[in-house]
């Protein structure tokens, strides 16, 4: 099942406004979907884990839109809702999946951390997806498809040794893998400085991988940087290490946030959604938000009514 999703993003010709509008649509959708998920969790309609991307939408939307959705490949981790929606905009499939319904993208079997659609794959064990991404890049290179593979890493995940094995191999074999390090400065409850010695932005340099470090406050900036990087990677078939500094506004998962209120308040002021919202006329924004709100509303209602998967839908052997 390889559904090719057409980019909701207008091509370069159109003016900034349309692009801003498109980005806002995606970012607002992500934010709203995740707020709904947290509410549904609080109300007991969702069990397990819900890792939200709230605050990181500029990174997710900026980078994903720089990819060629018709052939590029994306591996991600436990915090992938934002990337998933930016990638394929399947609000209905995601909400149903996380509610454990058979109408979910993985029939409710995978849940929040284990989703797959088209060329996107996520898994919940930190680090293990990285060699998978490198292997996928090797496969695509062997098949000469010109696909670029992006793999999402968190700052905490840089603690896993297999990440370094993969950096070495991707560079050694000259594979087009975009190592996207989404550095929100925290891993679950542990601040970066208790997880890492040295500067994460420099991790890939010893493997001769070109690297860049950017702030993810302005989605347009993230997009243009990523677009340039990806097109160069495609040309040269080389890996790249993109370090994106961002902020996790919500809890790690569900409600488990032990950070002081003030700290979170400070982060809120960097909310990329506010920043981009400011660039849109209020009436237009209202219109966009209403449409999205009601779409999500409907998706939730549909998912509520959908039934759970049965044993017959579960693969056994």
């Amino acid at each position: 099942m390889l559904t090719v999703v057409n980019s909701p993003l207008p091509d370069q010709q159109n003016e900034a406004r349309d692009i801003t509008e498109a980005f806002y649509r995606q970012m607002y959708t992500i934010r709203k979907v995740e707020q709904n998920l947290l509410d549904l969790f609080a109300q007991g309609y969702i069990t397990g884990t819900v890792h939200t991307s709230m605050g990181q939408e500029a990174c997710d939307v900026g980078v994903i839109n720089a990819l060629d959705r018709s052939k590029d490949i994306l591996f991600s981790n436990h915090r992938a809702h934002g990337q998933f929606l930016a990638y394929c905009d399947d609000v209905e499939g995601l909400i149903a999946e996380i509610m454990g319904k058979e109408t979910g993208v993985c029939m409710g079997i995978g849940g929040s951390q284990h989703i797959h659609k088209g060329n996107m794959y996520t898994n919940g064990v930190q680090g293990g997806i990285v060699p998978n991404a490198v292997g996928a890049a090797l496969a695509e290179k062997t098949k000469r498809t010109g696909s670029v593979v992006t793999v999402v890493l968190g700052d905490g995940t840089m603690g896993e040794g297999v990440v370094y094995e993969s950096l070495n191999i991707a560079s050694l074999w000259s594979l087009p893998v975009l190592f996207l390090l989404i550095d929100n400065g925290i891993a679950q409850s542990t601040p970066k400085q208790l997880e890492h010695a040295g500067d994460l932005a420099t991790r890939a340099m010893t493997f001769s991988i070109d690297s860049a470090s950017i702030e993810a406050d302005d989605v347009a900036k993230v997009y243009s940087t990523a677009a340039q990087i990806v097109s160069e990677m495609r040309e040269r078939s080389r890996p790249f290490f993109l370090h994106v500094r961002t902020a996790r506004l919500g809890p790690h998962s569900k409600g488990d946030d032990t950070r002081p209120k003030e700290e979170i308040e400070l982060l809120r002021q960097r909310d990329p959604l506010l920043k981009i919202a400011a660039n849109l006329p209020v009436d237009l924004r209202m219109e966009i938000e209403q449409k999205i709100d009601s779409r999500i509303q409907t998706a939730v209602e549909k998912a509520m009514l959908a039934s759970h998967p049965g044993l017959e839908q579960l693969r056994r052997a």
Partner: protein, 321 residues
């Protein structure tokens, strides 16, 4: 840790105020700041650090946030911990415990719900423990760290909210405790007066124990007399105790949370057949999870895992033979 100045604790996110994903270590870092180490997300190294510390005479207790991640420490367990202690001439002691929450029932999905003890059962020079709420987990942990054997200590997530049941008698249920050669308890529960013999033996461990109280009571009402046998040590297996506790019982049911194929129950079953074959009424039954991933969708997860209902109906079935 108060008593033992060589005890150290390491793991991910274990510092206060968070105190670990399942809060088991809450308070420790406040009371013992120099002996509680929050680690990077590096499971192989968490185990490797513990092994290195144990080689140098410390007593590390390391936590894996989810039992599913023990796979990342497999090389440290198999080729390091279990080898240092066996391949060097002097009888090296490796006092170290790897703790981890295991099991499903929380809707965490395929990579956060497994019971992977199967992977290490039978590994020479390595111990695997799975306390139930019929024993005192703290005492067992304290003993484990003193044996000099590297030990995997499994805590079923669903036992965290349970209250310990350590009384000799609880309603219809009698609790008797035996000790194996490594001094780990084997708990025997029975739901009948001493003057009779059990109709069926149920052998299980860890999280399944939370279901036994209610099951034994319900079966007592049906006048189905059960002896449940709960070893703490999964490997090595205290088989002689299990044998004598099941001696003369005509029906045997072995239950584990994971899928039964090549599981703990396979060893228990073959060992009990060796002892009781011919004296049994029907085959020894094994129960466990479906042979699939553990799905995130809670209703489906319940269908995949063992439940009180499934155990009861299986017992009724067996009794009807």
């Amino acid at each position: 840790m108060e008593k033992d100045s060589n005890a150290v604790v390491l793991g991910e996110d274990i510092l206060d105020p968070y105190g670990g994903a399942f809060k088991v270590t809450k308070g420790l870092s406040t009371n013992f700041p120099d002996r509680v180490f929050t680690t990077p997300i590096s499971e192989a190294s968490i185990a490797g650090l513990a092994v290195g510390m144990a080689l140098r005479g410390m007593r590390p207790i390391a936590e894996f946030m989810f039992g599913d991640f023990i796979t990342l420490a497999a090389d440290q367990i198999v080729n390091h911990a279990a080898k240092y202690i066996g391949m060097y001439s002097d009888q090296i002691k490796l006092s170290l415990v790897l703790r981890t929450p295991v099991g499903g029932g929380r809707g965490y999905g395929p990579t956060h719900s497994q019971s992977l003890e199967k992977m290490f059962l039978g590994l020479p020079m390595f111990h695997i423990l799975a306390p139930s709420h019929f024993v005192h987990p703290g005492e067992i942990l304290a003993h484990a760290i003193s044996t000099g054997y590297p030990t995997l200590y499994l805590e079923n997530k669903l036992l965290y909210p349970e209250v310990l049941k350590l009384e000799q008698q609880d309603g219809a249920i009698h609790r008797t405790v035996y000790f194996d050669e490594h001094n780990y308890p084997v708990v025997a529960l029975s739901n009948f007066p001493d003057n009779r013999k059990a109709d069926i033996a149920v052998i299980t461990y860890g999280g399944i124990s939370r279901l036994l109280g209610s099951i034994l009571n319900k079966l007592a009402e049906e006048e189905i007399w059960v002896t449940a046998c709960l070893p703490v040590s999964l490997s090595p297996l205290p088989i002689h105790l299990i044998r004598s506790l099941t001696e003369g019982i005509k029906k045997i049911l072995v239950i584990e949370e994971s899928s039964p194929a090549f599981g703990w129950g396979s060893e228990v079953t073959s060992a009990l057949y060796d002892a009781h074959a011919g004296k049994l009424d029907g085959p020894i039954l094994r129960m466990g999870a479906a042979n699939s991933v553990i799905p995130a969708s809670k209703p489906l997860e319940e269908k995949v895992l063992v439940s009180e209902e499934k155990i009861l109906s299986t017992v009724f079935e067996v009794m009807a033979w």
